[in-house]
């Protein structure tokens, strides 16, 4: 929290995206989070990703539950739609919003408490339905907003600020998402924008549920020695398995860089996702390999990051559920309300 708002300053070196907007046009209100909170960095990474992709803010809906992490939609894209819902219930509201309007670009912001404790069931179903949302878990191992209780992602043996040890097993949202049939599972770190921004861009372009587990340290309650979600611990134990880059459609031809061990996946809008394996053993197209890799590293105390599983051909929520192609908001009253006769006919057909 600061006393003065971030001033709007114009200077000649400022850059503009294809829409003529500066990065500052993608910001939101003043953050009230603690100084140094990882969540603010994730916010900044989102601002950068949206700006670089030149997405119009009014195309976007930001959804969240409850928690410090869930407060962050207020801090970016003030020109977008938003719904700050009930604790753990972000996926339900996102499902409703997307069923009503598939043209929306949805970003769900959640925390480890919000998605792995109270909202675990909701999280699971959003993943298996392949709901078209960029699903971010800003993971700090604690309930930040309620002053630092262990969350379901806290590692066994890790210590709280006052010294007590966590004795319960932790949930790994990425392993969970892969076993649930997720189509896009990635992990990153709030302190590594070089990795995070391209992943966010890839997730925003992915046709389905893109889950990104972002280690996002809580400076106030979980950045001490003994924490496994601190800045220092994460940096010391991070192991990037892949590097991702998203090449926008306009640039696909120029940016045909030497493939090496990089695979290139063409997305529906013509952009291309470059996936470079940093570990030759790794195969982000194979669930069994991915899960084994995750487990092997977990045992060694390493935190695997990067795009860890991807299947961009998996049918999405709209295809499976047959949602309306036309947003409800653009339908006439008659279309939305076909009348008693139409209802009677429908009921008849079900007898």
């Amino acid at each position: 929290m600061t006393y003065i708002a971030k001033p709007k300053v114009q200077w000649s070196g400022q850059r503009h995206n294809e829409l003529g907007l500066t990065i500052r046009d993608y910001e939101g209100g003043l953050s009230t989070l603690c100084a140094g909170c990882g969540h603010d960095s994730v916010t900044a990474a989102l601002v950068q990703a949206f700006w670089e992709l030149a997405i119009r803010p009014e195309q976007v809906i930001k959804l969240s539950g409850i928690g410090c992490s869930s407060k962050t939609p207020a801090y970016f894209l003030s020109g977008s739609h938003g719904f700050n819902s009930v604790h753990g219930r972000m996926p339900s509201v996102a499902t409703g919003a997307l069923a009503a309007n598939r043209d929306l670009i949805a970003v769900g912001i959640s925390g480890d408490g919000d998605s792995l404790s109270i909202g675990f069931g909701q999280f699971a179903h959003a993943v298996r339905r392949n709901l078209n949302v960029l699903y971010l878990i800003e993971n700090n191992g604690v309930y930040g907003l309620t002053k630092g209780q262990f969350s379901a992602s806290a590692d066994p043996g890790s210590k709280a600020k006052k010294g007590e040890e966590n004795r319960q097993q932790s949930i790994d949202p990425i392993a969970t998402a892969i076993t649930l049939g997720g189509s896009f599972a990635a992990r990153s770190f709030s302190g590594d924008k070089n990795q995070l921004v391209p992943l966010l861009k890839a997730g925003l372009t992915h046709p389905g549920c893109a889950v990104i587990d972002i280690i996002s340290p809580c400076v106030t309650f979980n950045d001490h020695d003994g924490s496994t979600k601190s800045y220092a611990y994460t940096r010391a134990h991070m192991e990037a398995a892949t590097f991702t880059d998203l090449v926008p459609p306009a640039k696909t031809i120029e940016t045909d860089y030497a493939e090496g061990d990089a695979t290139s996946i063409t997305l529906h809008d013509g952009s291309r996702l470059k996936l470079k394996k940093l570990d030759p053993e790794y195969d982000p197209g194979n669930r069994a390999v991915a899960l084994k890799f995750l487990e092997d590293h977990r045992v060694r105390g390493q935190i695997v990051t990067g795009l860890l599983y991807l299947d961009s051909d998996m049918p999405d929520f709209h295809a499976v559920s047959g949602t309306s192609k036309k947003p409800l908001t653009s339908m006439s009253h008659d279309e939305l309300n076909p009348g008693a006769d139409a209802l009677a006919k429908l009921q008849e057909s079900m007898r």
Binding site: T2, P7, W11, G13, C34, S190, A232
Partner: protein, 601 residues
């Protein structure tokens, strides 16, 4: 690129663009904050310490600080630094008790000064409090030099000059008016311990084209003419006046003509706009008074009929301009313009007819004395130069700075120390942190545009030659203008060891100044920052290796608005906002006592 050595005082000094740009290094942001707090007298004294004539400079300074002011890089116009100085001068209380005490027991050293312009006066200002006996020889009947004889009273009222010159002459300077020096040799023989020559650049340049002699009665040399107006010898001029040249002297000549009865005044420029020597604000002021500036006219001859000037013939020029430089030119036609009087304002030079060439003083090929750029000493030990006399015409603030530097040399010289024995600048940093989110400076960014100076209405201002045109800022304008200053002296100071690389500062910075990245050569580094650092005149700060990743914190100083948000956001106080005090050494700071070395032990 190596990690930045912020213990070198120049690093933080350069961040304060205005102070670095000011020849006398006035602590501008400090006095602006004092004005904001209503501490006008304190603000005046901060100015006086370095620039000696705040009331004068607050009206007529050439303002080298303003074009370089950081505000101009995040806004259309710089802070009105100069006009704020005038606010301090206009609203201060009596400062007598703040002036240095003059010792009644003198130090026995006698200094002669030639000319009572701002350069000589500054030397006296610095030396009188140290017990010197200073004698100024001035050719004219009043002190002040060109400030008095050439800068018109409608820009600089006489009372202001009297007051600020008085502070110095009242220190007990032996001021000998109407006393031109006509022989340096004779002066040397009088046995002064040192001589300072601050005689200015008194010779106006001539224009030798046909008709010059025949029309002499109606052709005037700008600086001589302004002087004769200033002293009441000239009270009239013809209706149609042509001013040749488009520098600041030309601006004073055209505006003065309007006040002496001219109603059709043209300033004749050889080149197009953008090549003019006059400052933008002087041009604006002249044009506001309906002076016409005629471009691309090169003087060819004076036209004389019946022994009287009737006008001038000009060659109308056409120029090829590439990247702001003239690559070729040609004459496209000739044009006659009527004139009753012509004023030549095409430059001035130094002239030393009174310095004998056989007394050991070396002159260069342009017949200018050879003067050392640091010590201001000529090739005759003990004879120093300063102001326009040293290196040709400049401006008041440079003359003042020369005076300070020459005073140091004189102080050393007369005590048998080397004139090169000069103290370096020193830097002090003091944190401005008051509480978690509180700083003892106004870190809010005021988006307002530069306040406009109000002028006396055109209908009023020509009635009296001495009517000051600018009215000064009122309270509201002042309150707004002071907030436009970005407090560049409240430095962002970084401590490598404390940083946990959380990125909070990088993310909050409103102008994308900060980056945490791998160090590298400066050129390369400049391209891979949060925003490219294109302004190579502005410094990059590079920290030492950070603890967690070994990367470095990089700051591009270019458009930092000193909002302090980086420091507010930093969870570990790795960034702090600290006031830089640049401690500039004057003569009084140079210890010349024989046992100086032992005293410090």
């Amino acid at each position: 690129m190596k990690p930045t050595d912020t213990s070198n005082p120049d690093y933080f000094h350069r961040v304060v663009d205005c102070q670095w740009g000011c020849p006398a290094h006035t602590d501008i942001p400090e006095y602006i904050r004092l004005i904001a707090q209503g501490q006008f007298t304190d603000a005046y004294m901060v100015n006086r310490q370095s620039n000696v004539f705040p009331g004068i400079l607050g009206r007529v300074c050439d303002r080298p600080c303003e074009p370089v002011c950081r505000r101009a890089r995040v806004d259309e116009k710089p802070v009105a630094i100069c006009r704020l100085k005038r606010v301090a001068a206009d609203h201060k209380d009596d400062i007598q008790d703040r002036l240095p005490e003059i010792p009644t027991r003198k130090n026995g050293k006698k200094i002669a000064l030639v000319g009572a312009g701002c350069a000589s006066l500054t030397v006296c200002n610095d030396l009188m409090p140290l017990g010197y006996e200073c004698t100024i020889f001035e050719a004219l009947q009043v002190p002040g030099g060109l400030m008095r004889s050439n800068i018109p009273a409608f820009r600089l009222p006489a009372e202001i000059l009297d007051e600020e010159i008085g502070y110095i002459t009242d220190m007990g300077v032996d001021l000998r008016l109407n006393s031109p020096i006509d022989s340096l040799k004779a002066l040397l023989d009088e046995g002064y311990d040192a001589i300072f020559i601050g005689s200015g650049a008194p010779k106006g340049k001539e224009l030798d084209i046909p008709g010059r002699q025949e029309a002499d009665a109606n052709i005037h040399i700008g600086i001589e003419w302004l002087e004769s107006v200033a002293f009441g010898h000239t009270e009239k001029i013809g209706r149609k006046v042509l001013i040749i040249g488009v520098g600041n002297t030309a601006m004073d000549c055209c505006r003065t003509s309007l006040r002496l009865g001219a109603d059709d005044v043209k300033v004749m420029a050889r080149k197009p706009r953008g090549f003019f020597k006059a400052s933008d604000w002087e041009l604006e002021d002249a044009e506001e008074e309906q002076v016409e500036i005629v471009i691309n006219h090169s003087p060819k001859s004076f036209v004389v009929e019946d022994g009287r000037l009737t006008g001038m013939i000009f060659e109308v020029m056409e120029y090829d301009i590439e990247d702001g430089r003239i690559t070729d030119s040609r004459v496209i036609e000739e044009r006659f313009l009527e004139a009753d009087d012509v004023i030549l304002a095409i430059g001035q030079e130094t002239a030393f007819p009174w310095i004998e060439r056989d007394i050991g003083m070396e002159f260069n090929k342009w017949d200018e004395p050879v003067v050392d750029k640091t010590t201001y000493q000529s090739t005759i030990p003990g004879v120093f130069f300063g102001g326009d006399a040293a290196f040709g015409p400049e401006n008041i603030i440079w003359a003042v700075e020369h005076g300070h530097q020459a005073a140091i040399s004189i102080h050393n010289y007369v005590h048998g120390k080397s004139v090169n024995d000069r103290l370096p600048d020193r830097l002090n940093l003091v944190s401005r942190k008051m509480g978690i989110h509180e700083w003892s400076y106004s870190n809010y960014f005021e988006p307002a545009a530069r306040r406009k100076m109000e002028h006396v209405p055109l209908s009023e201002r020509f009635k009296n030659l001495g009517t000051e045109v600018e009215l000064g800022f009122d309270a509201e304008q002042t309150a707004c203008e002071v907030e436009r200053c970005l407090n560049c002296d409240i430095q962002t100071v970084f401590t490598d060891k404390l940083c946990i690389e959380c990125d909070a500062c990088v993310d909050i910075c409103p102008t994308q100044c900060l980056t945490i990245t791998e160090p590298g050569p400066e050129e390369d580094l400049r391209t891979r920052l949060t925003a490219p650092a294109d302004n190579t005149e502005q410094l990059l700060f590079l920290s030492g290796p950070l603890e967690q990743t070994g990367r470095a914190m990089v700051k591009d100083e270019n458009v930092c608005v000193h909002c302090g948000l980086c420091a507010e956001r930093c969870p570990t106080a790795a960034w702090d906002m600290q006031k830089s005090i640049i401690d500039i050494a004057y003569a009084k700071d140079h210890d010349v006592s024989p046992c100086a070395a032992r005293q410090t032990g």
